[in-house]
Amino acid sequence: MKISIQHLTKIFPSRTKGDKAVHAVEDMNIEIPSGKLVGLLGPSGCGKSTTLFMLSGLESPTSGKIMFDDQDVTTLSAEKRGVGLVFQNYALYPHMTVEQNIRFPLDNMRIKKEEGNARALDAARLVQIEDLMARKPNELSGGQQQRVAIARALVKMPNVLLLDEPLSNLDARLRLQTREEIKRIQRTTGITTVFVTHDQEEAMSICDTMVVMKLGIVQQIGAPQDIYDDPNNLFVANFLGTPPINIFKGKISGGKVYIGGEAIGETKYEDRDVYVGIRPEGYIYHEDGAFTLQLDHIEVMGRDKSVVSTHEASTKPTVRSIIDSDVPLPRDATELKFNIKPNKLFLFDAETEERLR
């Protein structure tokens, strides 16, 4: 099912006098093609969960429209939208067994017992928990509870599957495993899926399309790689990538990009103050390189080396660059010189923080 969000806005009125009303989501426009996995990404408080709850029907928008295919569902109540929702804390009913939990939506739809049992078992098989049907949720591990929650959302064969921070309650190893699982389930079922996360790595690894949000405003929409390679503004560039992008204060002068006194690249834009962003993988070690960093230490990670250094123009205390481990680096050096790959260098206006394009 295709989802289209048009001019969606949600304003929470102020609780007490003098408080400002909170604009949780402002003028959001997204087209989600059928059968895709879409991630809403942003720091906490950016309105991504609010958006999800508006899609589910638990929150009603202040203005704007939500369309499922050609049907306007903006005012439709949650149970009539046919969405499956997985909560951050799973919200499994503690007094019901796994089977009863999964069957719960079917019982509400008044589906016959045999058919209901079969469907519940199918859903359980899909998430591989068919052996745990008789247990109570508190007898399951976090990962298993997560699967039950997904099975409960899938069992009614929803048009849209919504996941609210599905991985945040899992430990690191399980998180990797589960996110592949979610991708697999989404591929098998072909259900249009929207999921919310604050973890950019998670979003980049499984999303078909990613929506980056900040303070209720959509910053950029696109495939993860496209956004990474071509960020709209400083926030997006900063938010994506591990290790994060290095930002320097610099300026453009005479068609050249300067950080400190060094010209590190060329540009077609006119003279102004800028933020220069360089991805960690954008450094090429060269004895006569254009850009000088004060070496702090080198971390060896096997596949490559992580060079931790400092620079007076950097906005963060350290500058991290990733160098291929084959490249010999001089020991005992206090300074290292690099050339910068032009496609890993982004320029942002110092005032608007928008990308110079």
């Binding site: 638990l58 149970e79 009539k80 919200a91 509400n108």
Partner: protein, 413 residues
């Protein structure tokens, strides 16, 4: 109220002298114990040194130590760890240490003494005296041991014109097992309603809680007035508000609480159904506030996400109530059922409030506790003792069943 004072003075008169003696002995022992232990602490008190914890500090440490020791006992640590391993002790030191290790008794002594005097002694005395035939509480004389009291109590053959035990038992069971489940159910529904309104929720909460603050006897008097029938003199009907309202629907006035109240006769028992209705309504209504308070606060602590999840899954309000809300607050519901039934078995003031000291006509609305008071008042302590033991056993059995049943259906979060 005079009635209750009267009862109190009677209880005090029959309270035998040996209890007072036991009281005194226990009290003296406790005081001596306390004095010795405090003296020991004081005597051992060293000169103030830097880093010394002082008198209260040492008491505190001792308590901590005791707590840790108790914990270790529960963890089943081997006892050897606590064996004394220091230099050999003098006799006096050994004695002091032995005494000190018993200082925990000091802390439980106040409660223990009170319970011994007002709980343990009466229970044992009741148990023993219930087997004395023809027991005279004033002189302490009796004709011999046996089950005579129990037989007479159960047969209703007390020869004093007092209340009938079986009648009282049936009244109590009927009133309890109708009013407690009904009022719990009603409280559940009201709490759900209260939970789902946003405006003036606090005001409703306060209003619903008001009956809890009102005196039971006063409420009973008001209820009696509500259900009053005075009669039809000179073709002028002068009846209570309930009969008035029923009159609008063409129902003839019923004597709900008076001497001509309708009832069914079964053998030597009577089933005063009209009085039952009045009492059950009273019990339900007066039991509501506390139940609502408990259930409502339990509901407010349920995570809102469960309701969101249920909404997305298309659950109706009815399904949400019975499949989610009720099971989630099952611990509180079972608590209310258990305490409600126990309280119901001990009800007395409601019946006295509505029907007066004689608890209806010839004690036909008597309750079990009413039965006990009745025979204390008549000076027939033997029957009162026997009745109280039977009541004790019945309450124990009911509570046991209750626990079995509710535990099965309760998932603690």
């Amino acid at each position: 109220m005079a009635h209750e004072f009267n009862l109190l003075s009677q209880i005090l008169t029959v309270f035998p002298q040996n209890a007072v003696i036991i009281c005194c002995v226990l009290g003296v022992i406790a005081v001596l114990m306390a004095a010795t232990i405090i003296l020991l602490y004081l005597k051992k008190r060293p000169k103030k040194e830097p880093g010394s914890v002082g008198f209260f500090g040492r008491i505190k440490n001792n308590v901590k130590e005791k707590c840790a020791a108790v914990k270790d006992v529960f963890k089943k640590k081997p006892k050897e760890e606590y064996a004394y391993a220091g230099p050999e002790l003098t006799k006096g030191e050994k004695f002091r240490r032995g005494l000190k290790s018993q200082s925990g008794w000091l802390f439980v002594a106040p409660a223990l003494i009170l319970m011994a005097v007002f709980t343990f002694y009466p229970i044992i005395a009741a148990l023993v005296n219930s087997f004395k035939q023809g027991y005279n509480s004033m002189t302490g004389s009796f004709n011999g041991w046996g089950f005579d009291n129990f037989v007479r109590v159960l047969k209703g053959d007390t020869g004093t014109g007092g209340a009938d035990f079986v009648q009282c038992l049936i009244n109590t069971l009927v009133l309890t097992f109708i009013s407690v489940p009904l009022s719990t159910l009603l409280a559940l529904l009201i709490s759900v309603a209260l939970n789902s309104i946003k405006r003036i929720q606090k005001a409703y909460q306060t209003i619903l809680f008001l009956p809890y603050l009102t005196n039971a006897l006063a409420l009973g008097a008001v209820f009696a007035t509500f259900f009053q029938i005075i009669g039809t003199a000179n073709n002028t009907e002068s009846v209570g508000i309930v009969n008035n309202v029923l009159g609008w629907f063409g129902v003839a006035p019923v004597d709900w609480v008076g001497l001509t109240s309708p009832h069914w006769e079964i053998g030597r028992l009577s089933i005063p159904w009209a009085k039952y209705i009045v009492t059950i309504i009273y019990e339900i209504w007066s039991g509501l506030p506390f139940k609502i308070l408990i259930l409502f606060s339990a509901m407010q602590s349920i995570n809102k996400q469960y309701y969101d999840a249920a909404k997305v899954d298309g659950a109706s309000r009815w399904t949400v109530l019975w499949k989610i809300t009720a099971p989630m607050i099952m611990p509180q519901i079972s608590y209310l059922l258990v305490t409600g039934i126990m309280g119901g078995m001990k009800q007395y003031s409601a019946v006295v409030g509505i029907f007066g000291v004689t608890m209806g006509q010839d004690y036909d609305m008597g309750t079990m506790v009413g039965y006990l008071y009745n025979y204390i008042e008549l000076g027939q302590m033997g029957y009162a003792f026997a009745g109280s033991l039977i009541l004790f056993i019945i309450i124990m059995i009911i509570t046991w069943i209750n626990n079995k049943v509710t535990k099965k259906r309760t998932t603690y979060r």
